[in-house]
């Protein structure tokens, strides 16, 4: 017997014609569906993402092939997704190969690919991947049945009677079950055919189909084959038609979203064009969004990773990054389409159809103000959604209207008037140096090797000033040639920009750049991770590119060079370290602080969430100037309790002035002041140097 199989087995011509007509019609419909989406994105503003296209494509291809972003921190879901992904890809390519062979090679060249050895290996490959596909789907079904918290669609901002998200659940079920049915019926067709052919020996190369076929002995396999074939064909075409209007669109859209994502998303926020500045900084209509933002809204698969990572949501604030994106999607779909088949329903005046203003109406002001800009959502998102960009663009509209808390308003006014949020005189900025027994160089007056950008909290906060002096003393002791800008330094603007006050940010950047240009130095270091981020990633766009590092990085180098000598081992401390958002996630500096902790000899233990998965203290993005008394439990307090899960822990190490402030407070409010000491890493270095 010939080693091959018949396509359209037992099909009269009319049936084939019907199939081709329906098939081509469906394909046209699918293309139209996706074209409708593309047309929507074309209504968005330019996002400047068409550079380095080749590199972008290859990177997205690699992420797609490895499913690396899905595997991250969830190996089970990652593995199941990987099985489904590759199962689908191989089965799809297999079908394309059959069509190519049957509709092109054979009629045009009279050559048949699917025979002999190629057919055998082809059969084996498809059977194996078909099986892996089914295993992946079943794994996902089991996972869903266990109701993990990230798949809970409950909104944190509305009572349950105000919305209905059952359509989302329906969509999830349809998606999984359709794929499962497609896989299972595919195997059934294969098995029926093998049985009908009399179980030929070479079909053992289709192990799953062969095994199933052996169970079909005595059944009316020809009829079964025909019936299941049509059923399979119809659900496959149905699945295709459903794709552009459902969760399944992520299979296409998320490749594009990963390909066009900004590697510096959140770290470097988009500027507002001069043109736009004239009418207002923020987004007030759908056309204000960039096409990438509109794509972001569609890209969401509701995986909930951002939802569970978000410190605002975890502390009972009315913000979930997932829901923010989904609401914007619903609004975009309702205003400019195309519609989703399974959309959430918002009731009682919470419907989005008639809402005009994206900031304040579609997304409520208190939701936008809840964000700490910790970037956990952007980091966790497996499909490259840039939540923070949209949040800040919407906040800008609130700032345009002056819609903010009084305390935040005061902070902005102070920064505008005095260059610092403390509302103190500019000339008081370097007051902290007065208690030192040496003079800190004025970098504007004499050249220095290192320019120290001190930052507001380190300069003005009475609690942090002592830490700042310790840094100064240690660097002085190590013979480092450093200076500061004295009253010419202003708030770096990192948080001002994330509040959405772009005009003030630009003003601060101009002033700081003028001050930096008046000084002579080789590189910058800063004690403030927030300033680090602005100086490193945002100032270059305004023409100031400097080498900038965090003081922990500098300290490691000084220890390695022997300029700082540690004489004492601090093994009496059981310490844990909190990665500041702006040092870790934003700037990727995870190792320097840990090297310091190793060098000073503390007994070091990681918290449950650490490094890029670190949990925010709740102070970023301007939150430190807003009221947090309405939160169920402050993020900083949750974090202290997380640290206390480590047996015997007695030191909570920080490397950010805002963290020092937040956690010094949180150990008190949680009543753990006696158990846990909050220490800046510089205190440990000083203690280990044993200078006395």
């Amino acid at each position: 017997m010939e080693v091959t199989r018949e396509v359209f087995r037992n099909f009269p011509l009319w049936m084939q014609v019907v199939f081709y007509v329906v098939g081509l019609g469906t394909t046209a419909f699918v293309l139209y569906g996706f074209w409708m989406r593309v047309r929507k994105y074309r209504r968005g503003r330019d996002a400047g993402r068409f550079n380095r296209l080749g590199q972008r494509f290859l990177k997205a291809l690699r992420l797609m092939a490895t499913n690396a972003t899905v595997f991250k921190r969830d190996a089970y879901a990652g593995f199941a997704h990987w099985l489904i992904f590759w199962g689908f890809v191989v089965l799809f390519l297999g079908t394309v190969t059959v069509a190519f062979d049957h509709d092109f090679l054979e009629p045009v060249f009279g050559y048949r690919l699917l025979q002999g050895t190629f057919y055998k290996w082809f059969s084996l490959t498809l059977d194996v991947f078909g099986l892996l596909f089914l295993i992946g789907l079943v794994m996902m079904m089991v996972r869903r049945a266990k109701h993990p918290p990230q798949l809970d669609y409950t909104r944190p901002d509305l009572p349950p009677d105000k919305y209905d998200r059952k359509p989302y659940l329906t969509d999830d079920k349809i998606f999984l079950w359709l794929l499962l049915l497609i896989g299972v019926t595919g195997f059934l067709i294969e098995a029926a055919r093998i049985q009908a052919d009399g179980m030929p020996e070479f079909e053992r190369w289709s192990p799953v189909g062969y095994a199933l076929a052996s169970l079909m002995d005595g059944l009316p396999v020809d009829t079964i084959h025909m019936a299941v074939w049509w059923f399979h064909g119809i659900i496959v075409l149905g699945f295709l038609a459903y794709m552009p209007f459902s969760k399944a669109m992520h299979m296409v859209i998320d490749f594009a979203n990963l390909m066009f994502r900004d590697e510096l998303a959140a770290r470097r926020l988009p500027r507002v064009s001069e043109e736009k500045m004239k009418e207002g900084m923020g987004y007030v209509k759908i056309e204000d969004f960039t096409w990438k933002e509109l794509l972001d809204f569609d890209a969401c698969t509701k995986c909930g990773r951002c939802h569970v990572a978000c410190p605002a949501r975890a502390s009972g604030a009315p913000l979930s990054p997932r829901d923010l994106i989904l609401d914007l999607r619903t609004w975009a779909d309702d205003t400019i389409g195309p519609p989703e088949l399974f959309e959430q329903v918002l009731r009682n005046g919470n419907g989005l159809k008639d809402k005009k203003a994206p900031a304040g109406e579609v997304i409520r002001a208190e939701t936008l103000w809840s964000c700490t800009t910790c970037m956990a959502c952007v980091e966790a998102c497996p499909v490259g959604i840039e939540h923070l960009t949209s949040i800040v663009n919407l906040r800008r509209a609130l700032v345009d209207e002056g819609e903010m808390e009084d305390s935040l308003q005061d902070a902005l006014a102070n920064i505008g008037d005095y260059g610092n949020s403390f509302g103190q005189s500019e000339r008081a900025r370097a007051k902290w140096t007065k208690e030192l027994d040496f003079k800190v160089k004025d970098a504007r007056k004499e050249p220095v090797e290192y320019l120290w950008f001190v930052g507001d909290y380190a300069s003005f906060s009475p609690n942090v000033q002592e830490m700042t002096r310790k840094v100064a003393r240690i660097l002085h002791h190590a013979g480092v040639d450093f200076g500061i800008l004295y009253e010419a330094e202003k708030n770096s603007g990192n948080d001002v920009r994330r509040i959405g006050e772009e005009g003030l940010f630009e003003m601060l950047v101009e002033d700081n750049i003028a001050a930096l240009e008046s000084a002579e130095f080789r590189e910058i270091f800063t004690t403030d991770p927030h300033s680090l981020n602005a100086l490193r990633f945002e100032y270059p766009e305004f023409g100031a590119s400097y080498k900038v590092q965090h003081y922990t990085t500098l300290l490691v180098r000084l220890i390695e060079e022997g300029k700082i000598q540690l004489k004492k081992k601090l093994s009496h401390y059981t310490a844990t370290y909190h990665d500041p958002c702006y040092l870790g996630r934003y700037n990727g500096e995870f190792d320097a602080p840990r090297k310091l902790l190793e060098a000073v000899g503390v007994q070091f233990h990681e918290m449950r969430r650490c490094r890029d998965n670190s949990f925010c203290c709740g102070a970023g993005g301007g939150r430190i100037w807003m009221d947090d008394s309405k939160l169920e439990k402050r993020p900083s307090e949750q974090r202290i309790e997380e640290a206390l899960e480590i047996p015997g822990v007695n030191v909570f190490v920080v490397a950010c002035p805002k963290d020092y402030t937040m956690y010094s407070d949180a150990v008190k409010t949680t009543g753990n002041e006696d158990k846990l000491k909050v220490k800046d890493i510089i205190e440990l270095v000083e203690e280990a140097m044993d200078l006395s």
Binding site: V272, M277, K278, G280, M281, V399, D400, G402, M404, D406, Q409, L412, A413, G416, D417, Y418, G423, Q424, S425, R427, E501, E502, G503, L504, E506, M507
Partner: protein, 250 residues
């Protein structure tokens, strides 16, 4: 109804204040200026009134340090016209009121909202004298103004937490103690836009021929004399000693 809001720049108390060599003024070389807080509230209340009932808000300021910036900020917040008063005006409430009255008299106005006082003021009378020159009623320590019938209803604060509502038929001058809400934040971009797109009108102060008004004889930091006596003992003993001390001082 059109509301005129006179605003004034005052020394920023965040900076350390030094007394000038003359001993009669602050050393103004390093001084920073900011809008008088009460004027900021007067402007806010005027803007709230306008948003609720319509009309125009006209901010006026006697020329001085950083006055342009204050006027542009007022425009950015929503003032329809901003006017700088130029010419020689002595630094006392009588002269200020005269200059303001000269200019306001030429405007189409119904009410004046003026800060009830200023940190650098000596008598807190500018609003009162202005009302006199304009020949209209004046109410001081106002915290809210709402339209009511043909006139306005004004909330005035008295001491001891007592509040009165008064019906007033404009034209009138109100000394604003506090606006109904915190003065709004105006984004930097809006101020910059106002600087480019707003016409800063200039009007002459006219004849400011006033003879009244206070004059600084000597300016000095509060002088504290050392010494506090702690009175100890039972309540009766303490009371007796206190009474003795008071008697000796009478």
């Amino acid at each position: 109804m059109n509301i005129v809001v006179p605003i004034k720049q005052v020394p920023d108390l965040v900076e350390e204040l030094e007394i000038a060599a003359s001993g009669k003024d602050l050393d103004r070389e390093w001084l920073k200026y900011k809008i008088n807080e009460f004027d900021d509230h007067a402007l806010e209340e005027a803007l709230c009134f306008k948003e609720a009932h319509g009309g125009q808000v006209i901010a006026v300021a006697i020329d001085g340090e950083d006055v342009d910036k204050a006027l542009y900020t007022a425009a950015a917040k929503g003032a329809d016209r901003v006017i700088k008063i130029t010419g020689e005006v002595a630094d006392n409430s009588h002269a200020h009121a005269r200059a303001l009255a000269n200019v306001i008299g030429q405007l189409d106005w119904n009410m004046v909202f003026i800060g009830v006082q200023a940190v650098d003021e000596r008598d807190g009378q500018t609003g009162v004298i202005l009302a006199h020159y304009l020949g209209v009623p004046h109410i001081s320590v106002v915290t809210e103004v709402q339209q009511s019938g043909g006139g306005v209803e004004v909330v005035k604060e008295f001491g001891g937490g007592i509040v009165a509502k008064l019906e007033v038929q404009p034209p009138a001058v109100f000394g604003i103690q506090a606006a109904r809400q915190t003065p709004r934040y105006v984004p930097v971009a809006k101020v910059r836009r106002a600087m480019r797109g707003t016409e800063l009108e200039e009007m002459d102060a006219g004849s400011v021929d006033v003879t009244a008004g206070s004059e600084v004889v000597r300016l000095f930091k509060p002088e504290s004399k050392g010494g506090a006596e702690m009175i100890e003992g039972s309540p009766e003993e303490v009371a007796a000693k206190l009474a003795e001390i008071i008697k000796s001082k009478l």
